[in-house]
């Protein structure tokens, strides 16, 4: 049973209904690999103070995470995305820290849920 605040079990069940264990594993691994790239992009955007790039990266990570039912990180990303909607806002390390923490939690939960 997955943590409801990290993973949405309904979405996971939808994924399982679409295919076999290989498919679910493939989707999770694609999410993890893409997530790592997006986090690297967020780091770069934070260093350069690029609000638009940071916001876009948070949006992409939220969308990707929703597809695998990782609702906890999606919520955090959307919160950050909304906070950076103001043109005067700048990305800050606490936002990236929160996203990274949620990503780690989601990845750990997905490891537990992922078929062997």
């Amino acid at each position: 049973m997955s943590d409801v605040f990290i993973l949405n079990s309904e979405t996971i069940e939808h994924l399982r209904a679409l295919g076999d264990d290989d498919f679910v594993r493939e989707i999770f691994e694609a999410w993890e690999a893409q997530g790592a790239l997006l986090l690297a992009g967020l780091h770069a955007a934070l260093l350069s103070g690029d609000r638009v790039a940071f916001r876009r990266g948070a949006h992409a990570l939220a969308g990707s995470s929703l597809n695998v039912g990782a609702s906890g990180i999606a919520d955090v990303c959307r919160f950050v995305e909304a906070a950076l909607g103001d043109e005067a806002a700048v990305p800050d390390p606490t936002q990236l820290g929160a996203i990274e923490r949620e990503f780690s939690r989601a990845a750990a939960e997905i490891q537990r849920t992922k078929p062997n």
């Binding site: 994924l15 989707i27 969308g63 995305e81």
Partner: protein, 223 residues
Amino acid sequence: MTTVKDLFRCPHCAALNNALEADWCLCTGSEQSPVCNRCRHCLCEARTEVRAEFWQFASRELIERRRKERQARRLFIASRRPDGGHPVILLIDDDIVIHSIVDRVLTSGGFSGTLLHAYDGVTGLQTAERVAPELVLTDALLPALDGRDIARRLKSDPATAGGRVVVMTALYKGVKYRNEALGKYCADEFLEKPVTARQLRKVVSDMIGPVFAADRDLTSVAS
């Protein structure tokens, strides 16, 4: 002349509409119907008994309009696949996860066509212009070129205007953005993410006809 028989209440937002002046939906079931002017949802979404009652008392003019819309829809599908060939769908999204999921949703439903993939807006638009797919599923917020702009450009080009475009979004949610996508950007449908397998298969069937094994079974039973 409009009569009270031509008025319908939108099943989604409850607004009162004049069916004779409304646009018509692209649903491919037997129930093509008028679209709400306010929220762009169609009467197809109403309960079966509500639709049956509406059509039972509809004016002659409206019945005739429905007949013409069905005929136009059949002609459209026949013109895109004159030899009964396979439809082409183009998916434009920078999220690799959604590509795997859409691929699986289509193939597990027995999709009888080809799915093409593009990962940014510019490549997606170029592919759509070259291939003229029957259906483009595009994310709204894309690198290089916005998915809604892709819809507008495809619809304004005579070579691609006949294809259907569905804009999907996790960001631009709500009636305002839906109306904007369907109106200003000329998209044919608007989906809010995450999209379930059932929603996706329904919208694909609504847009381009029976392309799933289950659809074809139903069609053969119906005919």
